[in-house]
Symmetry: C2
Subunit: 223 residues, 2 copies
DNA sequence: CAATGAACGGAGTAAATCGATCCGTTTCGA
DNA sequence: TCGAAACGGATCGATTTACTCCGTTCATTG
């Protein structure tokens, strides 16, 4: 009992380490969104305002960093779905879920198939998937979501809207001045898609509903 | 006048060259769609079933190949818009235009900002843009397109739907067996978006209509 | 205040990739 | 049989990448 690990106040050096860790994860997401699968560790470190050495002290490998990012993102997925269920209005809940998840879904899709999936990640994915299913089911029962759109249709729509060539390319160049306009334009696209998702006597959707293989297979690290 | 260039039947070697040229352009589009801006000449040549040497005999540089691809694509844009205007039904015309253009729009967006734009390309872009404006205006006048959606909203929607993470990633791996399912899933997403575009008492779109800078700036080869 | 060690930043390294060239081979027509 | 034209791909220099190594900075401790 001699080791009094009293954490009265965090050592300033440790606090800096924590800030750096958060900055790295945020930077990884941002760079992944603009550079896609070719995001380089150098770009991530630079964006985080951190030396490459510090990145590798925290994560043994680039892959480990991305795995941690994916893990945390799945937590956000789940939280968003639970927040949607907490909304008393089934449609507002669904619409809020979609718009929330779109924000960070785009950063993740480039990772599909590049990472070994830990069992923890698979478990979190299953839990999040069930929560989303509940959100969609409630909207269906309330008659506010078009009946021929399945949960996977909704998830594919989210993934489709997650990446935005417009915003990404403008970000890759300097043009931060156009960010507001680009974001606004993107919001309009999302609004249009959501209007198409709402129950409103639309003609039936073509083809068969998508199967889950389309999701699952893509994330398996075949290579 | 001694050079009798009678083209009775094409020399078989020349015919092969023409086939190769078409194969190269098609391959360039496909590789650009799956690999994005990092599409390599080696990948394009391989996909076309052609040696790298043959590629460089026809195009002095990678850039020239992409410029030619862009040039031809603009012809297709224009043709699609004219076909839309030829359709007696304003909505079917617009919807057909959107679904047609989506097919190859995705291959082009990665080129934004990577190419010097020839004056010919700029001219073709202007002509195609006017044709699209006519298609949209006719749909507006007929009251079948939601009034708050502008021509640029429509074009941005096309660009957004042009790239499909699902289809691209499945293509990058072997999984050609899932192509049909992926294409069908994608068609449903497009149908949903089109339903959101149709006039049907939707709530008004948020923010201001997008301005043209969002398009123009992005294609300028700043670097 | 000197010494310790944890956290830092970034130059350096070996490997991989890319655009482009060069050249030996194949194919067709005269 | 010979020459020209089109072919495929090994090869090259330049660039990029993930990762290592090391000298520096800074709060704590005796």
């Amino acid at each position: 009992m001699s080791r009094m690990t009293v954490e009265r106040r965090k050592a300033p050096r440790q606090a800096e380490a924590e800030r750096n860790d958060r900055a790295l994860l945020e930077a990884a997401r941002a760079v992944l969104a603009t550079d896609g699968a070719h995001a380089s560790v150098a770009a991530i470190a630079k964006r985080a305002g951190v030396g490459i050495g510090s990145l590798y002290r925290r994560y043994p490998t680039k892959e480990a960093l991305f795995q941690r990012l994916l893990d945390l993102a799945l937590d956000q997925y789940l939280a968003a779905a639970e927040a949607a269920l907490a909304d008393p209005d089934p449609w507002n809940g669904l619409a809020g879920y979609v718009t929330t998840v779109i924000e960070f879904a785009g950063s993740l899709s480039p990772l599909a198939g590049m990472l070994p999936l830990t069992e923890e990640i698979r478990a979190k994915d299953r839990r999040a998937g069930e929560a989303v299913a509940a959100v969609v089911a409630r909207a269906h029962d309330a008659g506010v979501l078009r009946p021929d759109a399945t949960r996977l249709d909704v998830e594919l729509l989210i993934e489709q809207l997650g990446r935005s060539p417009l915003v990404e390319q403008l970000a890759k160049r300097g043009r931060g001045d156009l960010d507001a306009a680009a974001g606004s334009a993107r919001a309009r696209i999302i609004a249009i898609a959501l209007d198409g998702l709402r129950a409103a006597g639309h003609p039936p959707l073509p083809g068969d509903p998508p199967g889950y293989e389309l999701f699952a297979e893509r994330w398996e690290p075949a290579s």
